[in-house]
Symmetry: C2
Subunit: 615 residues, 2 copies
């Protein structure tokens, strides 16, 4: 196919015009960050990429991630040029009743993931490319367009290292080096050689081009396609506001509409080609088709004896491997902690479905989100729960992306003991509860942990499973059913005068406390919360009322955002119920697990005291 | 001074022996990650670094950050060799009553910051080095020891870029390339040339050495000292478990004690030098002495008129500049959002006390923590509140470090409007509340915002200030006093039958709702929470009881960990009080601020409805 260079230049200029129009009508947005990428997007969408306009998220289509999400006007313009969006639609930019949002979200059928928090797109693209190369083994390619400013984000370099480690030759990163950030010049300005040196040092085939030159861009894409076992990074030197007279390459035009009359000069450059006439390359349909079978993935029944001492992290590893047995779409991701989280049990059986992300949790979660895109796999990311805080922003954005992602965090709380506070997750419930539409499961024993993993696999969405380090007794029969949103009333009697609520290590402390209290004639109902979010409000209300309105929560977590607040919030509107919460009150330290439970106030003795003082 | 190479080799071997002893007695810990760095630490502490053993945190002493915190046995051993710790003390490693913890914490007087979550030390070292070079203008130097595995963390590259941008020639990074991670070989193994290429591309003078060779290390430090306007990175090729027979360079020895008998072979290598006999270089005492004057920093009285429309983010910028006027120790840090957070008002007046960290929030917070170390400055980091989530792990570790850090997050909530959900902070209260010992302030108007900034400057600790985008009326007189832990009862009457609690944009919605309700004879007490943490429990209880036990919270934030949960938790144990919470119920979208408040359920009309339905 002969390439019509003039037609592609026209496309780029039409995208410029549309970007200016959209943001002018919206009275806000980013025309200058859009127009710097006009030739990049025009050449990608109308020569390089293979896709079907009618089904932009088809499994076999090339993927495009606009990591510099604020430049979305150029993306919307491209899909107008391609015929998917009408001009009227793109002019609804940023209106409350329009899905043409200020930053991309998957409300639109051509967007896989939300972007707008910078530096996250490349990790996601890596996840897609890993699936393409190693799981789907298909021809589709993945393109990520980054801004230059966002390469200051370390997550970009986590992803760059990942891409080279996994030899992702189906991945092309394009950096739009338009020199100007939001508030001043970027760290490297137009020093494209340093960008290239960085990507080269991170294992990429780095190509510097004039990003306004259609021929150079096409040549670079071709080089990328012909480069084997290495990802390619195209460093495109551009100008912010490129093509807009009196705006191009000037400061103080970030995130501001430009005057509508600026489009006249651009229109004057157009030749006689017409919108929508440049052919789009059809995809190669060699991607396997399947359904993830969500809702029907059943693991083999757990095989424990009551009283067996099993750490929930170990049970998680067992469950992950069993999920691997029954679904070919389970993919495990690790941050060099697999021998602690026990996700290495999946690796041992299914090495081809295990991704080592090394010590880079932002990328771990980002790759996981990418792996989960378009229903190609069910990603389970595992690391210490404390270290998921490193990826809090990726999780926040993952929620906006409606990502399908499972996160299993081990080493919860002070009960890990000697390693000390840096390794203790005491904010993880707060973090994962605050992720929009998330599910947070906190299984206590091995049986419930296996069920938690199974439940997580079967729903679409972000699910967190909190596991612990110490080996503690199995308390449920192997056939005990568990459900999202359902607590277990672990012990109850007609004489109960207080409700004790715990999970994990604190449930065992509740049991010890209740046993001791029973000997002095005080009877406690014990609830194993299991599902911290959604929380089983109905059971909480029922049991609280039944037991005289006295509720005590106990958690191996700080107060803020934890179990106590979740319960207090769920019971806040119920009359004649009071909640007292026991939690880790201060920054902990190294020590034995039991010693720490005692010292930081969450052991059975503190529960007994709290019950006796609860008048 | 002639260097006694043999003596330094002996020191390294004594550190090895001590590391093995400590972890054997503790029955856990990281001897192998310690011994790989034995020569690095021996040469640093007993030849290169200038400090006083008697006052390890003196302002004029060189700084050392053990970013690979799990290798702390080698650090404790060094301080024993230096004479600060006794052998008995170091053998108390990981015991509950010992400050010789499993990972370093500033409970020990020679540790500036807690480490153990990997990849964070270099940012902190950058902050210290920035202060040394640009604020203190002193001779002290900063050394950061990193593991190879942790260079997978993007935060390392954020810091590396920062160090070169600011020409931190007083900063030396040493990477202990011992090849083995926790669960397998690292991404780069012993490919020291690639490490060097990466640091070189990030603007460093990169030197590859045999990290077990004392002479090579000393030479590299000297080269670093003689390198101007560039940071140095020493890539030290080592072996995990170096010097331990049958352990060195083998897998599966991460985080495990080694048999005590292994020390015999090391002892056999010692010459006749004695512990504690190698001289330590005295510091150059050219660092200015001062007191931060916490508690006595008073800004000029705010100068607004009631009803003036001022965005709280703008008032924050004004306050920051005013703080700069009255304290020479205020330092502003930005993540390329300074024209949105208005921290550029400080830059305009005091450019020498402003640090542009570009789009790299982990490093922004890490540098801030470093800037605040040893009482050399009061760092104010500003960016969009949503983007502080990127630094959640740095904040978590900052709490363990007892960091003095102020974070001002703008663009809170859906009231930012058209930019859409990626830019809206809806989890920031949850995040900052979960930071141990933090203070969370949420001022509503310009007057209270200025006071929030002043309060933040005056206490040691992590303080978050949440600011908003829209310009809203000033509601307090300029002389209105504000305090941490104190709410404002903004409106009350004898007829109040409900308490409305808000902050920021929702307080204005509460006022509108109360005005409307008053016209139908329902009177509401309005509380401006101001201090979300610590929360003013006493005022909440008093007003809740006074108003018939009906409380409604309204927040521009998700439910989890937010204002409603904070209030519910504070009132959970109070009889006959019920709390209903209004919050952003779903993932928002682009739109006008007012339209979004209405659509996502936090506008006055929803408050009115909630009050009328509250029976």
């Amino acid at each position: 196919m002969t390439v019509n260079i003039g037609a592609l230049k026209d496309v780029a200029n039409r995208l410029r015009i549309a970007s200016i129009e959209m943001t002018s009508v919206a009275k806000s947005g980013h025309p200058t960050s859009s127009t710097s990428a006009a030739e990049i997007v025009a050449t990608l969408f109308f020569n390089e990429m293979k896709y079907e306009v009618a089904s932009p998220k088809a499994p076999y289509s090339d993927r495009f991630v606009l990591s510099k999400g604020h430049a979305c006007p150029i993306l919307y313009a491209a899909w107008e040029e391609a015929g998917l969006l009408s001009h009227e639609q793109i002019l609804s930019l940023r209106k409350i009743d329009s899905d043409i949002e200020g930053h991309p979200t998957p409300r639109l059928n051509f967007i896989d993931v939300a972007t707008g928090s910078l530096g996250q797109g490349l990790s996601i693209a890596c996840g897609m490319a890993w699936v393409g190369k190693y799981k789907d083994k298909a021809s589709y390619r993945v393109y990520a367009l980054l801004g230059d400013g966002e390469t200051a984000e370390g997550s970009v370099w986590e992803a760059a290292a990942f891409a080279s480690t996994y030899k992702l030759d189906n991945l092309v990163t394009i950096v739009d080096v338009n020199r100007l950030g939001q508030s001043q010049e970027t760290q490297l300005g137009h020093d494209v050689e340093t960008y290239a040196a960085r990507f080269k040092a991170f294992g990429h085939n780095a190509i510097v081009v004039n990003g306004s030159n259609v021929e150079e861009l096409l040549h670079a894409y071709a080089t990328a396609r012909n480069t084997k076992n290495k990802p390619t990074a195209i460093i495109a030197k551009t100008f912010k506001g490129a093509g807009i007279e009196g705006v191009e390459n000037l400061d103080n035009w970030h995130g501001k509409p430009v005057p509508m009359e600026k489009i006249e000069a651009i229109k004057a450059k157009l030749t006689s080609t017409q919108k929508g006439t440049v052919p789009i390359c059809p995809p190669i349909k060699d991607t396997p088709e399947f359904d993830l079978n969500l809702g029907n993935i059943k693991i083999a029944t757990p095989a424990y004896k009551l009283g067996d001492k099993v750490a929930t992290r170990a049970a998680y590893g067992t469950a992950l491997a069993k999920l691997g047995d029954v679904s070919p779409h389970i993919v495990g991701l690790d941050g060099d902690t697999k021998n602690s989280t026990f996700s290495d049990k999946l690796l041992a059986k299914y090495p081809e479905r295990f991704i080592e992300c090394f010590i880079a949790e932002q990328n771990l979660v980002g790759v996981g989100i990418g792996v989960g895109c378009r229903g190609r796999a069910i990603p389970f990311c595992s690391t210490f729960a404390a270290f998921f805080t490193r990826a809090a922003d990726q999780l926040r954005m993952g929620a906006i992306s409606s990502a399908n992602l499972k996160c299993a965090g081990s080493h919860a709380g002070i009960s890990i003991g000697e390693d000390g506070p840096s390794q203790m997750a005491l904010e993880d419930l707060a973090l994962f509860r605050s992720v929009a539409n998330s599910v947070v499961l906190y299984p206590t024993d091995a049986v419930s942990t296996e069920r938690a993993a199974e439940l997580a696999a079967n729903i679409h969405g972000i699910v967190f499973i909190r596991t612990g380090r110490p080996a503690l007794p199995v308390i449920y029969n192997n056939d005990e059913p568990f459900a999202i949103g359902k607590a277990k009333v672990f012990r109850k009697s007609d004489k109960d005068s207080v409700v004790l609520i715990g999970a994990g290590v604190t449930l065992y402390e509740c049991i010890k406390a209740a046993d001791e209290l029973a000997s002095s004639g005080i009877h406690a109902c014990i609830i194993d919360i299991f599902s911290v979010k959604p929380i089983d409000q109905q059971t909480l209300i029922t049991e609280a009322k039944r037991c005289g309105g006295k509720v005590i929560t106990v958690e191996d977590h700080y107060q803020s955002g934890g179990l106590g607040e979740a319960v207090s919030s769920a019971l806040a509107d119920t009359e004649n119920v009071r909640v007292r919460s026991i939690f880790v009150k201060d920054i902990p330290r190294s020590g034995s697990p039991d010693g720490l439970l005692e010292l930081f106030g969450i052991s059975a003795s503190h529960i007994v005291k709290a019950v006796k003082n609860f008048n």
